[in-house]
Amino acid sequence: MTALQIVFFIVAVVTIFAGLMAVTVGNLVHAALWLILSLFGVALSFGLLSAGFLAVAQVIVYIGAIAILIIFAIMLTRRVATDIGSQINSGWPWAAVIAFVLCGGLIWMLREWPGFSTLPPQMSARADSLSMLGMALVSPNAYVIPFEVASVLLLAALIGAIIIAWERK
């Protein structure tokens, strides 16, 4: 077993454990903090796969924006944070069935996937995955249309936020 594999197992166990804690602890702020640990674990997994950009984007978007927004919302409603209610409602069997079906389906699909036994291809030292990603995002042959659609969507959200917050005189 190589050192990288051991690091991966530690990261994976911590990520899954934090994910479980995020949905089982009673205190909402603690749940949000466990969620952050879980998201950070996912970012570390990206980093272990040499996908540095995805790792950093994961931290910026999920921890820097979404998780802080969640914590902020919880802090503004302080009484909710101390409520210890039931963690499950009456729909839990359905959720369990769907989760098992999805998990089983994924395992069945990945049963014959060759990726488990092949080694990752050696990237040449000169290949810069980040600039290749950047070129692909604005290249007409690749992802320029999804990229532009996403930016129009974000712009629409931005304008919408201004309209909602607009003080009518």
Partner: protein, 402 residues
């Protein structure tokens, strides 16, 4: 000869390989060792920073500062550390114990994480990742989290208000900072910090993009939460903000984190705009680069202290207006102009390119000042015009025109 760190590292690597360790484990051991040495070096530097801070603020306030223990008071920070360590450790009633104890660690650890990507010399860099600038932004998000955790877990309304202010300030000032940081990224054509330093071989970026450098400096001070942006710990309003309930070494970690963060910001701005480790002979003898790097970092540290001890605290609505109505549009204009000029002047001579860039920046700065001046004139008129004020009833009767 000029690069002791790399020679020691390669000697150790060969030694470990000679002991029969597999290459994967050698990389692992070397990484852990590197992290350990870098973190220790930075933390020891941090103790020294306490002395620098106290000595410099004393000079700004026309005092001498610590001068009793050791030469120039150099042993004073050790005494400070011992004092902090033997103080009583108090956890307030109703505090969330685990989060409360985790927050100071987060506050210092996130600053240490930044040092992983800062190049101290061409060959002495923790990890030369190609997303360095984004990495710094991401770690900034984590440091916000540490302060929120401290504010929430203390079970204190002042701490909570401090945490709210932190979120408002840090999340807002991140926007112009990221936009302004795109300017050196654009000029260097890379997000790796060592590549950005490498791209400044002809001219430091501060001469090509002075406005972006200024915006990054201002927003970094806001991210640090130092005066004039120290609303998050405003003593006269919310006592001490998020670290009000912390005692002893836990408070010490926040304090050390702030000092170290300031030096780190100085190091980052010097890498982005002042050529980092660049200087005469730095490429042939990397150890010289370390000297240049720390000289520039400490110079910026001094500039930030100079601003801190010269300016009063900014009001909270001014703080938000300054960010959203001034810095964000300005940084967008600078980014767009820089991008267009960079593309137009792609094939021209470097000095023509540099002069046009500088002229464009000066023009933007001049137009900005003109707009500000006309806005200030309107504001002055509005403040100066007579307003209806409440007067006692008796005076209204005696003098109805007032």
């Amino acid at each position: 000869m000029g690069d002791p760190v790399t020679s020691i590292a390669s000697w150790l690597e060969n030694l470990l390989l000679g002991w029969g360790l597999s290459p994967g484990w050698v990389v692992f051991v070397m990484t852990v060792l590197g992290v350990f040495i870098l973190a220790t070096f930075v933390l020891v530097l941090d103790i020294f920073l306490v002395w620098v801070e106290r000595k410099v603020v004393a000079r700004f306030q026309d005092r001498l500062g610590p001068n009793r223990l050791g030469p120039f008071g150099l042993i004073q920070p050790i005494a400070d550390v011992i004092k902090l360590l033997i103080k009583e450790d108090i956890t307030p009633k109703g505090a969330d114990r685990i989060v409360f104890n985790l927050a100071p660690i987060m506050a210092l650890a996130t600053v240490l994480l930044l040092w992983a990507v800062i190049p101290m010399a061409p060959t002495i860099v923790g990890s030369d990742i190609n997303v360095g600038v984004l990495y710094i932004v991401a770690i900034g998000a984590l440091s916000t989290l540490g302060i929120i955790m401290a504010g929430w877990a203390s079970n204190n309304k002042y701490a909570l208000v401090g945490a709210f202010r932190t979120v408002a300030q840090m999340v807002s000032y991140e926007v112009p900072m990221v936009i302004a940081l795109l300017v050196p990224v654009l000029l260097a054509g890379s997000m790796g910090i060592n590549s950005i330093v490498g791209a400044q071989n002809q001219l430091w970026f501060v001469f090509v993009a002075p406005i972006a450098a200024l915006i990054v400096l201002i927003t970094s001070i806001a991210e640090l939460g130092r005066a004039p942006f120290d609303l998050i710990e405003a003593e006269s309003e919310i006592v001490a903000g998020f670290h009000i309930e912390y005692t002893g070494m836990k408070f010490g970690l926040f304090y050390a984190g702030e000092l170290l963060h300031t030096l780190t910001v100085g190091a980052l701005i010097s890498s982005f705009f002042l050529g980092g480790w660049r200087g005469p002979g730095a490429e042939a003898y990397p150890i010289l680069g370390v000297g240049y790097f720390f000289m520039k970092a400490f110079f910026l540290y001094w500039v930030i202290m100079w601003i801190k001890y010269s300016l009063p605290r900014i009001r909270i609505d001014h703080m938000l207006n300054f960010n959203w109505k001034f810095l964000t549009p300005l940084s967008l204009v600078v980014l767009i102009v820089t991008a267009i000029l960079h593309k137009v002047l792609e094939n021209s001579d470097f000095w023509v390119y540099a002069v046009v860039m500088l002229a464009a920046n000066l023009l933007i700065g001049w137009v900005t000042l003109q707009i500000l001046r006309s806005r200030a004139r309107v504001e002055r008129q509005r403040v100066a015009e007579p307003r209806s004020v409440a007067v006692p009833p008796s005076s209204t009767i005696s003098n109805p025109t007032a």
